[in-house]
């Protein structure tokens, strides 16, 4: 299709590197600003959703978006559109320039980055991009068929396949491109008597690496095991958090690891009296948290939103706070190198299985996942939330019985100071957040459950 054609076909929502570069160049030629940045992303998403043992919705979405940021000195503004005709792109560029000229000066505006070197990440797999509607329906049947046959179970699940790209270019000559696929499958199975619920999920860039039947099997087993939970007193317990629960809580740390807010005194990493806790041991010595877009389990975008190349970044090394995030502006102000905003979150672990962690526990609580996490106190990353879809009492190295869900009020910083053992890292399927997150199961003492929930 010629570049001046008004619309791209459905398949063109997923652009090749060359086409993305050509489009950015086309937009740059329309620009009359002192500098311009162009960001493009798009792709195709397909999904199947089912619940109450019935298909509910299923869909396919193709979309594409262009963002143009124009600069005049310290003034700048962004305009986005999902049209790619010359007229529409010119209009977006002109509007961005008009808004930028009208905007007050931004004293933190930074000059454009020159071209950067990026090591590509192979994250695109045809197994996801080409999966048909028939195949997606068959994956739904891996849960629906056994639950219908069982008579005492109901399944609610969701499969989403994404094939997408992003590209970034500037009038200083920088160009970055990344494309990826992901297949994400999550399933909740509930018992019809209303007393049991189990959840399982899996995600990978390559659909061939997702064990859809295995997810269905695990959720069913967990639902059955979680029937007829008993109430036990809230309080401080040794917990074994499965990886999804660990990820739910611990990836919050990354959102707070910002140098600027810490320097300004409004972060959990502030040192009393001023300064930061950089270089201090703040967690158990077994904790290592880092980002690495090249890790084969995450395969994340190798550059951030400013186009800064990303490599391995260590936030926590042997329990010591090693890095805070420095934006380009704050790094210049502080005379340090900008870090780039990470696109992945990885916590290292061991080879221990969940069963190993259970076997080593005299009394504790096994948590499948957490839900509705919300900040209670930003001074400590204190969050509240609840356990969900499989909470069990462990006694003498074995699961003794299902227990009612708890509300907790605790911080990942507190939990990772109370570590007793780590398990095997897994990629999360994601619930409220998720994405390119790989974490292990964690066994920790004194986790603070503050009340009981009647919810199943």
């Amino acid at each position: 299709m010629a570049p001046n054609d008004a619309l791209m076909s459905r398949d063109d929502a997923l652009m090749s590197r060359d086409d993305a570069q050509a489009l950015i160049e086309r937009i740059r030629k329309f620009s009359r600003a002192e500098a311009v940045e162009v960001q493009i992303f798009g792709g195709n998403t397909t999904n199947v959703r089912f619940a109450d043992n019935q298909m509910s919705t299923a869909g396919s979405v193709s979309d594409f978006q262009v963002g143009v940021q124009s600069y005049f000195g310290a003034k700048h503004a962004v305009v986005t559109t999902n049209e790619v005709s010359d007229d529409a792109l010119k209009a977006a560029v002109e509007k961005s320039e008009k808004l930028a000229r009208l905007a007050p000066d931004d004293p933190e505006s930074m000059p454009q980055l020159p071209p950067q070197q990026y090591q590509p990440v192979e994250a695109y797999f045809p197994s996801v991009a080409s999966m048909s509607a028939d195949e997606r329906a068959k994956i739904a049947l891996t849960a629906l068929a056994p639950c219908r046959a069982a008579n005492d179970l109901t399944a609610a699940g969701y499969l989403e396949n994404r094939a997408y790209f992003s590209a970034f270019g500037t009038s200083a000559g920088l160009f970055a491109y990344h494309r990826a696929t992901s297949s994400n499958y999550t399933l909740t199975v509930r018992t019809k008597d209303g007393t049991g619920s189990g959840w399982a999920g899996a995600e990978h860039n390559d659909a061939r690496q997702v064990d859809y039947e295995g997810v269905s099997r695990r959720a069913i087993e967990k639902a059955r095991a979680s029937r007829n939970p008993v109430a036990i007193e809230p309080g401080r317990y040794t917990v074994i958090m499965e990886p999804q629960a660990v990820g739910d809580l611990c990836q919050l740390i990354a959102f707070y690891a910002d140098a600027r807010s810490t320097d300004e005194g409004r972060s959990p990493f502030v040192k009393q009296g001023g300064g930061t806790k950089l270089g201090e041991k703040i967690l158990d010595a077994r904790i290592n948290i880092y980002a690495d877009p090249f890790d084969p389990m995450v395969r994340a975008q190798p550059y951030d939103g400013d186009g800064l190349p990303l490599g391995r970044q260590e936030f926590i090394k042997d329990g010591v706070l090693k890095t805070l995030y420095y934006s380009r502006f704050w790094a210049r102000k502080k005379g340090v190198q900008p870090t780039g905003a990470p696109t992945s979150f990885i916590m290292s672990g061991t080879n221990a299985s969940i069963d190993d962690l259970i076997a080593s526990t005299t009394r504790g609580i096994l948590v499948t996942r957490l839900w509705y996490l919300r900040e209670v106190d930003p001074r400590t990353i204190l969050y509240t939330g609840l356990t969900r879809d499989g909470t069990f009492l462990i006694e003498n190295g074995k699961i003794a019985r299902a227990v009612k869900n708890f509300r907790f009020n605790d911080s990942p910083l507190f939990m990772l100071n109370n570590v007793e053992a780590l398990g095997r890292p897994e990629r999360l399927a994601g619930t409220e957040a998720g994405g390119a997150v790989v974490v292990p199961a964690v066994k920790a003492r004194d986790f603070n459950f503050t009340s009981l929930s009647d919810a199943v």
Binding site: L7, N47, R49, Q54, M55, S56, A58, G59, S60, V61, S62, D63, A77, V78, T80, T81, N82, S85, D87, A88, K95, S96, L99, L102, A103, P104, D106, P107, E108, A133, D134, L141, T154, A156, G157, Y158, T188, E264, R266, Q272, G273, G274, Y372, V376, P378, R379, T380, I381, L382, T384, L386, R388, N405, R407, N409, T450, S451, S453, D454, A455
Partner: protein, 541 residues
């Protein structure tokens, strides 16, 4: 065909001004309800042609029923901190979403390709997906009947289109408000932003409905942060005002600069507040706080899809289930408790002229005299409650709760405006405080969390005042309360009257897979709750 540019030119023109005026928070504007159906631009001929093309393609491909939506979604942000503009952003997205029902199974496809060939391709794909899913179908989906609306147009209650206001004017107002807030002691940081959204929604279905709507919504987000000189503490004051389904005229009514001083001062005062002692207190909750408790513990659990298990894999189910054990039986709260659902409240966020199935909304009591009386429904769901509606002497009819947050999203059940109606006695927030011996009054919404069946919840607030002997004696910090939903609402013993009614809300209410965001308002009066468990959330790192 006419180009997309022509459509944009037509569709982008702001509609004529409306006569309605007055702040949303004014009691007189909020009650009594007036159905607001105003003149809006008729549907663009090209858009109508494309919608018909999509519906024809769906029918030819085998759909028993189909609907199509062509929408243009505009957003405008102006983002500041302290005396700086962080960014100015304008976004624009346009496309079509087609939903097809084939042999009782749904399929959906969305595309930004607004040519005849493009919309037909999307329609055919929606049908193909529905056909592929028949293999996994368990029950046939049927729709409750709805009146056909062959040529309707509607716009919501905005007077001044925010897109007509220059960016300098928006930025100048925020910067001045920030400066006012930073005059308070120890207030070092202020974040503030305008967020405006305009939706041009065009809808048609194979029943014969054709509807064009324009909706404008506005929000101001602010956070004032005070840091103690020794870096031992910092406190935030945010969520200062409700988002609304109105335009720039609403911004002008907020006295941002004058109120900036007040909110900054409140952030500063929080540094000196006394940590709360854990225990049981009588809580007097202001509408600026209680709206969120209503949202989480009443509005979400009475979504019928959630009650029936359709959200089980994401947001969860509901304790208000099954319907035949609940309707007319379950005592949610005291007899004076009435909770109304509607999508017709002028200036509220969930307000529409017609929902995304072409249904004109009604007003309905979800809780009537303290008991569960109804659920929020779409056409698919209304049929599930046929037995209850017949027992009430009425026909099964959707309450108009079908909604999609974008052209690229499939419509599904989203909550209407859900509100706690005033009591008969005219009493205020201050009157409730004066009647309380040992308690805490909470203003503004803070941290919130609730379980997946909506039993156990925890809420913080923006400002917590200690009440002793009917008087406020000081400010508390680290306050949160934990509830079990039915116990909490049954512990409500006083509510405010008509004049104390305010409407607050959220721009960003998430639900569904793939996730969608809904804007919703909740009207409320102040209310008192006896003997509620209060915890202290402060702890040193």
């Amino acid at each position: 065909m006419t180009s997309r540019r022509d459509f944009l030119k037509t569709g982008g023109v702001a509609a004529g001004a409306l006569a309605l005026s007055g702040a949303l928070r004014s009691a007189d504007a909020a009650i009594p309800r007036v159905r607001h159906v105003a003149t809006a631009p008729e549907m663009d001929a090209v858009v109508k042609e494309l919608l018909m093309e999509a519906l024809n393609a769906a029918k030819l491909a085998g759909a028993g029923y189909a609907d199509a939506r062509i929408g243009r979604y505009l957003q405008n942000f102006v983002v500041t901190r302290e005396q700086q503009i962080i960014n100015v952003v304008d976004t624009d997205s346009i496309g079509i979403g087609v939903r097809a029902l084939v042999d009782g199974t749904w399929g959906f496809a969305a595309s930004r390709d607004l040519t005849k060939a493009g919309v037909a391709a999307a329609a055919k794909e929606a049908v193909a997906i529905a056909k592929a899913n028949r293999v996994a179908r368990d029950r046939m989906i049927t729709l409750a009947p709805a009146p056909t609306v062959p040529n309707a147009s509607w716009k919501n209650a905005y007077e001044i289109d925010p897109w007509t206001i220059p960016v300098e004017e928006k930025a100048d107002l925020l910067i001045k408000a920030n400066a006012a807030g930073m005059k308070a002691p120890n207030v070092k940081y202020v974040f503030s932003a305008f967020f405006f959204r305009k939706q041009e929604r065009n809808y048609a279905n194979t029943d014969g409905s054709v509807i064009a709507q324009t909706i404008v919504q506005s929000a101001i987000q602010q956070q004032f942060t005070a840091v103690s000189p020794d870096f031992s503490d910092f406190q935030n004051r945010g969520n200062t005002m409700p988002p609304v389904g109105r335009g720039w005229e609403w911004v002008l009514q907020q006295n941002l600069v004058q109120n900036g001083s007040k909110w900054g001062e409140e952030a500063s005062q929080k540094l000196k507040a006394k940590p709360v002692e854990v225990g049981r207190y009588d809580l007097v909750l202001h509408p600026s706080h209680l709206w969120l408790t209503i949202h989480e513990s009443i509005a979400h659990p009475t979504e019928l899809d959630r009650a029936m298990g359709y959200e089980a894999n994401y947001a969860g189910t509901s304790f208000v289930s099954p319907p035949n054990d609940m309707l007319g039986k379950f005592k949610y709260g005291p007899e004076f408790m009435n909770i109304q659902g509607d999508r017709s409240h002028p200036g509220a966020l969930a307000t529409v002229g017609y929902d995304d199935e072409g249904v004109a909304p009604d007003e309905f009591l979800i809780i009537k005299n303290g008991k569960v009386n109804d659920y929020q429904t779409t056409r698919e769901q209304a049929a599930w409650l046929d037995w209850w509606y017949k027992a009430q002497g009425r026909e099964a009819r959707s309450h108009g709760c079908s909604y999609a947050d974008n052209w690229s999203s499939v419509q599904f059940q989203r909550m209407p405006n859900v509100s706690l109606l005033p009591g008969e006695k005219e009493q205020s927030f201050e009157d409730l405080i004066a009647a309380t011996d040992k308690g805490i009054a909470i203003v503004g919404d803070g941290s919130f969390s609730i379980d997946q069946q909506r039993y156990n919840a925890q809420f913080g607030g923006q400002l917590a005042y200690e009440i002793k002997g009917g008087k406020i004696v000081g400010l508390l910090k680290d306050v949160a309360y934990q509830i079990r939903t039915p116990d909490f609402w049954n512990a409500m013993d006083m509510i405010g009257g008509r004049k104390s009614y305010e409407v607050w809300g959220s721009f960003f209410d998430g639900k569904g897979q793939p996730g969608q965001v809904n804007a919703v308002s909740h009207g409320s009066v102040p209310a008192r709750f006896r003997n509620v468990n209060v915890i202290n959330t402060g702890r040193k790192a």
